[in-house]
Subunit: 345 residues, 2 copies
DNA sequence: ACACTCTATTGAAGCGCTTCACAAGCTAGC
DNA sequence: GCTAGCTTGTGAAGCGCTTCAATAGAGTGT
């Protein structure tokens, strides 16, 4: 631990003395090594190691007026979509020598605010924000009077900041299109379009696909939540019908929902998945691939969202006053599994 | 955003001028309000609001030499046990006016080191560390020459730091005991005791319970991993046996494993859960309660671990030089569900 | 009116760094 | 041998806060 006597924490000045150079030279070794001869660099590094010197970032930030850390306030780290964002953002940050610190708002608006304030006080270079969303149209997220460079993730475009979003409408369209191409014509959408904005957008995409093909019908099956239990309820409701009244394809608005539906079907031998009813989920959760019959789903590009957002933030930081906010919409990707297409070989 | 003209970011000095008081008074309002008359406080707060002043923490940390933020380096945020720790730690920190910032090492030893170094440079008050573990006996985690106050989570006791651990041996014991009390006498442990330290400890606990009751037998069924697929393989292996050769209770070393086992059983009508074979899991993952038959499991006290660790850290910070490292071992909790005890009412 | 307490407020001295104008030491050209 | 032009190295002036000794005010008791 701490070195010999009763020892203060060593400062740059101590390093300079130990190495027999000036204060500014130590700083140069750390920040602009190309300005210092190899010999002196070696001396300084040795002194740093001998003393166990750890530079003080608070002082650095204060003196330089810039930080190399980025804050990421995440709405829900227990959701793998958002956790993936942090991975993508971190990877991208590391490539450019930036550090990423995380804060979990846990779907609490006040904590989201508090963490943004904290990062503002820390004078981080910028923040990434995956905001708490409501089903309200535009929750305008950028909060503070303080000029914090912010990029919004999983958000629709807004004037106040750069944004990265995922095309939920397209996701719904792709799911429906997939089932239609498989020859299904009596589709059911499980979930409540006004449960949350994204669900509504997905439903809109489904409708678009249906409208393109007159022979295909769509039925809406609302649910309270999007948990496995809700899915089992949907499954039971379908099983209670005459076979001729049942859909031949179900588009669930979330994987857990799809998981419950498939589970309900598998527990009887009345309905085979996918032969009688094909099922799709959404999100590419673990639930989708742990299901007895692995579930076709739409993968949200979490890592990519994070990486793109981080790049946009770096652009914004570099461009300064001339920066104009931009908006990126990423596409979800259809992952076809056995709940729609039986294992072949 | 930024106020009127081309405006610098306002400093305390600006607030002082605006409010017509001295610099030190503004600082007092922020840090020791009881020393300032209500009238002056009001003036200062108004000035702060008018100017949109956001205090600079870098300067604060530098001047005061202490920070109010705690860093938490987590080995794997995608594991709900660890995420729960962050929740407990955060709650406890908030109670005492501390801020918690997260870093995900993602099971990468080098990133763990890098984040610890970062927090050391930031001069945080202390760090919580849920370290990357190997199956090695004692991975001694405290790294740096720098004197960073650290509490280790999910760790066995060590001399270098305070630790909070969970009693895995007890968890295994409780699971086995539970099955034995239900009258099961041919038990199977699914998982490889040397897959990871905790699994070995759980297995040891199971053995202890078995040894207490001579009439009960134990069989070990190793698996490569602890995923659902491994569980399904275990389930199939059991189904392939003569009914008389099958265990009547299976202790899985992880929920996902138990989930796969139950899934395999449910897909046939040969084995009823729990009537023919009772199954327990471990961790209280979502997988446990999303299973067709909800799975009895051992809940790891994640939130409590985090809260306890944060309290220990605060003690360490308060006590200073006189501090002696302490070690807490928490107990897992048996959650009885339908995979061992059928729904009654 | 005076001495004595308190309490509320002041402002200058750092905290540990980055920066940058400047100095010093070289090399090369003539 | 002298100067111009480099490359290296230097150190003092802040960055925006906290702290604390010093001061100004407001009471109190006599």
């Amino acid at each position: 631990m701490a070195s010999s006597p009763d020892s203060r924490v060593p400062r740059m000045e101590d390093v300079a003395r130990e190495a027999g150079v000036a204060l500014g030279t130590v700083s140069n070794v750390l920040n602009r090594p190309q300005k210092v001869s190899p010999k002196v660099q070696a001396k300084v590094h040795k002194a740093i190691a001998d003393l166990g010197f750890v530079p003080n970032r608070a002082a650095r930030v204060l003196a330089a007026g810039t930080s190399s850390t980025i804050g990421f306030v995440v709405v829900d780290l227990s959701n793998s979509f958002f956790l993936d964002m942090t991975r993508g953002a971190e990877r991208e940050a590391a490539l450019h020598g930036l550090n990423l610190l995380l804060a979990n708002s846990d779907v609490d608006f006040n904590r989201e605010r508090a963490y943004l304030e904290l990062f503002a006080q820390e004078r981080v270079a910028g923040v990434l924000l995956a905001p708490v969303t409501t089903s309200q149209p535009v929750p305008t997220a950028i909060p503070h009077a303080f000029p914090l460079h912010t990029v919004l993730l999983n958000s629709d475009a807004t004037e106040d900041a750069c944004t990265v979003g995922v095309d939920n409408e397209l996701g719904g369209y792709l799911a429906a299109r997939h089932l239609i191409e498989l020859g299904r014509s009596r589709l059911m959408f499980a979930g409540s379009p006004d449960f949350a904005r994204p669900v509504g957008q997905r439903f809109a995409g489904v409708k678009r696909a249906i409208d393109e093909v007159p022979t295909v019908g769509l039925e809406l099956m609302p649910t309270d939540e999007v948990q496995a239990e809700d899915g089992r309820a949907v499954g039971r409701a379908v099983l209670d019908r005459q076979p001729s009244e049942r859909p031949d394809g179900i588009i669930a608005s979330a994987d857990l929902l799809a998981f419950g539906i498939v589970q309900a079907f598998l527990s009887t031998s009345e309905v085979r998945v996918p032969q009688d009813i094909a099922v799709t989920g959404y999100d590419n959760n673990r639930a989708a691939w742990d299901s007895g019959v692995p579930i076709t789903t739409l993968a949200q590009p979490g890592e990519e969202s994070g990486a793109v957002a981080m790049r946009m933030l770096m652009d914004e930081l570099r461009e300064g006053r001339s920066h104009v906010h931009t908006h990126t919409v990423l596409s979800p990707k259809l992952l076809v599994r056995e709940s729609t297409v039986p294992r072949s070989s």
